[in-house]
């Protein structure tokens, strides 16, 4: 296998070869710990699947917050592109009233703004937003030209806050910063932590949690909420699917933080721990086994008998509902293989659901993850700074004198930490079988090459790769937007996922496309002479 991979890589020019080979590895437990290059600048000229810092900040983290007006300061394209691009579902619940997600607020910078500066236009845009929408907060997201021409969006935010008596937060998330959308997550985390979290003082119930890194794609968040509420937890905030700035203000009051997407929210989890003492737990509600494990871990953290009992009852009840159908789909999928190239955590999270369908993941990789997402948080101290990541602000905080508190005693913590991993994420590589392949920041050429090499039956990816895969005659499942399906989370979501995968694998379309052109005339009357 290594030889074959080398052959693929050798097609690159020397410099690219040197770079890209560090981003690929074949899992081998004997060699553990294995190191991979990640969070490195995309090679120019490659058809990358990556987005930019603005996309990570505005598109991923800030975007789903439904009660804030997020203004894109820049040319119209940036805002337009990120308008309902992800399938963050949201509803106006509990009298929260606002839902600005259907709008696309943009200053639509013109040439004169580039030449003479766009601060004035931004000020006026904020004024118009306040007048028309009367939001409780406004966020400004910068695009490339803003940094270049030197618009001071922080100054504008300060001015506007006073002028309009409305909170205004500026995010300097110019697209050229960092190496991918990951830098945008970090910037968004910093901004929300500095300006939002900790500013509320609503009373919270017992067993209060935040869900971090859950974006409610296809309604996943709602399904997770349903499960957690059934057991008896109080969910203070979700960052940021179907999310709300006003709820996020109280996030510091949680007793435990649940981290679904480690990549995009580990900053906030760590900051909350440092400033307020809140432990965080890496959970995963994609896949049945992971869901069971996550539910049990949370209950165990709090140690309440009633929680533990309700957890077990819930698990038994849900499994009984889904098992017959799961079995049906498993039969259709058994023995097939999957490749996964998604985001910063989904390539990890979806290996379980495929395994539960009897499918092996033969290749997995992230678009914008860091080494810790591959190798586990233990490598963080050893990750080298580079020109791109060192210019993203790294906030350091200490315990808040008044609000710092620990839920667990030292003894309890030590004990629990043996049974589950508190404040820790082990990364993706450890869950993968020997011989499977990990590729970071895969590009178009490598997708094609690995598809030929591994012939997976399904490729789980994003929209950008979807049709590339399809044109190769292979099923692609969008694991960002779920192909307008979902939810995939929790027990019931697992069935929907199974149904979708089974449907895709068994649709006659593949049979009609693939073999005829390769195997020559077989059936009478088949239209076999076409040259494609």
């Amino acid at each position: 296998m290594k030889e074959k991979i080398k052959k693929i890589m050798e097609k690159y020019p020397a410099k690219v070869f040197k770079n890209r080979k560090e981003h690929v590895l074949v899992v081998n437990k004997c060699e553990a710990p294995q190191m991979i290059m990640a969070d490195a600048r995309t090679i120019p000229g490659i058809i990358t699947e990556r987005g930019c810092t603005y996309a990570g900040c505005k598109g991923v983290v800030v975007g789903p917050l439904k009660d804030t007006v997020a203004i894109t300061h820049g040319p119209i394209g940036c805002g337009y592109y990120s308008w309902l691009t992800r399938r963050n579902r949201a509803r106006n619940n509990e009298g929260e009233g606002y839902n600005f997600l259907t709008y696309c607020f943009s200053t639509d910078m013109q040439e004169k703004d580039i030449i003479f500066g766009g601060e004035n236009k931004l000020k006026q845009a904020i004024g118009e937003a306040v007048e028309i929408f009367k939001p409780r907060s406004i966020m400004i997201c910068a695009t490339c030209p803003v940094g270049l021409i030197g618009d001071d969006i922080n100054a504008v935010a300060n001015w506007a806050e006073k002028e309009f008596d409305t909170q205004v937060i500026a995010f300097s998330c110019e697209g050229y910063k960092g190496v991918s959308q990951s830098a945008g997550h970090h910037i968004a985390n910093n901004g929300l932590f500095k300006h939002v979290i900790g500013t509320g003082d609503e009373p919270v119930g017992e067993y209060s949690v935040n869900i971090l890194g859950e974006y409610n794609i296809g309604g996943d968040g709602w399904e997770i909420e349903r499960l957690l509420k059934t057991v008896g937890y109080h969910i203070i905030s979700i960052m940021s699917g179907d999310g709300s700035v006003e709820r996020l203000r109280n996030a510091h009051k949680a007793h435990l933080n649940l981290v679904q997407c480690h990549r995009s929210t580990n900053y906030t989890a760590e900051l909350l721990r440092a400033q307020y003492g809140t432990d965080w737990l890496k959970i995963n509600f994609l896949g049945i086994e992971s869901t069971v494990q996550s539910l049990r871990d949370i209950a165990k953290y709090f140690g309440d008998r009633k929680l533990i009992d309700r957890t077990e009852a819930l698990i038994a009840e849900e499994l009984a509902i889904i098992q017959p159908e799961m079995e049906k789909y498993r039969k259709l999928c058994q023995g097939k293989t999957a490749a996964l190239f998604v985001g910063g955590s989904r390539a990890n999270h979806f290996q379980g659901p495929f395994k539960e369908l009897g499918m092996e993941t033969v290749l997995a990789g992230f678009e914008f993850a860091h080494r810790d997402d591959y190798e586990g948080r233990e490598v963080i101290p050893f990750i080298k700074e580079n020109a791109d990541n060192k210019n993203i602000e790294n906030i350091v905080v200490g315990p808040d004198r008044e609000r710092y508190r620990l839920v667990l005693s030292r003894e309890k913590y030590e004990q629990l930490n043996k049974e589950m991993s508190l404040n820790y994420f082990k990364g993706m590589i450890k869950i993968m079988d020997d011989g499977s392949i990990v590729v970071d920041d895969i590009n178009h050429y490598e997708i094609e090459s690995f598809m030929k090499l591994l012939k997976p039956d399904v490729f789980g990816s994003g929209i950008k790769e979807k049709y590339v895969i399809h044109k190769m005659g292979t099923l692609s499942k969008q694991l960002h937007s779920y192909d307008y399906s979902g939810p995939f989370a929790g027990f019931r979501g697992a069935v929907i996922f199974a149904r979708d995968v089974a449907m895709g694998l068994t649709t006659p379309a593949w049979r009609l496309i693939k073999p005829k052109w390769k195997t020559g005339p077989t059936l009478e009357g088949d239209f076999i002479r076409e040259v494609v």
């Binding site: 410099k15 990556r50 040319p75 013109q110 006026q124 937003a129 950008k464």
Partner: protein
Amino acid sequence: MRAYATIGNKNMQVYPIKLSQPMGATLAVLGVKGSLALAHGAVGCSSLTKIFFTRHFCDPIAIRTTAVSELAAIFDGGEGIVREAVQNFLPRVRPEVIGLFSTGLTSAKGDDLKRIANSINYPIVYAETPDFEGGLESGWAKMAAAFIEQVMKPGLNLRPDKVLLMPHVSLHPLEVEGVKDLLAEFGLEVHALPDISDSLDGHLGINQASLCQGGIAMDEIKQLGSAGLVISVGASMLPVAEAFLRKSPQALHINIPGLMGLQATDTFIGQLMRLTGREPGPRVKHWRRRHRDALIDSHFYIGRKRFILAGEPDRIVDMAAALAEAGGIITAIIASTPGKSLERSVAHRTLVGDLEDAEGMIDDCDVLISNYHGERIARRHGKIQVLRGFPILEQIGAQLKVDTLYDGGTHFLVEVANAIIAGHPH
């Protein structure tokens, strides 16, 4: 000439319909066979454009990026990074041509694409298309003009039976195919630039994704100078035609303002008849009869209904004329960007704006024709929506629609009438 309004003192777009110049340039590059689109900008520009068009076309969209970093943004004039990008893909991919275009970032910092392109020993066609200027139409036209200016040989040995078709950006792939077929019926050898009729038409071939597999070939472009006739469609393509005429002043150029509706098609066919001395074929004539019939059958539903159209100027002005032929009242045309075609708008109000403007006038409207984002507005106000423009999401087959010429005009009227009937159940 009619006046039209632009948004006055609106500093914030809320429901934009304007698409950026690099997006137009991207599509234009995707109309050239074997090409490779290279966006000179931060990594997001290509990625987000890719997502946008991938969702609209349900097809791979091959764009590469120079991935300008913060350091490069500050220190590099662009030359280094573009050269590096090109070198990085060349061993594995050898495009016929690289379509290089700037973005807001690189135009703002003043990278000189011409100098960059000339410094690299590979066929590169370049266009300055910052996204803080113009829009989809101008980005497409600038890239198209670049191919004329930088690739085509000057006009020599003009052949009267060779025609260059220059469609505006909003013509769907199958519409371009339809116009090409019509021209061929008149005995003309037809080349379209850009030609997305077989590159973005939603087909399943092989190896489609890394280079553009359909479109006009570079060799064809080089030889376009012998075209005796140039047909540009849409006012947005006038600058491209001008670029052509600068290099081939003897060629005959006609600009077709639009191709929707009976009259526009009549006019176009009349011109072809005079130019070629030929009759249209029986199929064309028969489709005209079908179109006439559709006009009569649909007039009762479309007649006196009030329409708001939002989208690209060339397209919606054309569409408005077609609806007016069936008795529709065009309350407003809301164009993404200014455009000369707006001067011939038949709408009561013609403005450059966004869907927020459409919502402001929604009470004077029965049917909103706009892109996907208009759906929420139409639903909120109980109006009928017909989907047209960029993007069309959560529906498939957008690129297969044909609204132009007699056949498309027939289908268009039927679709609109049926949408109205379905929207007003009785």
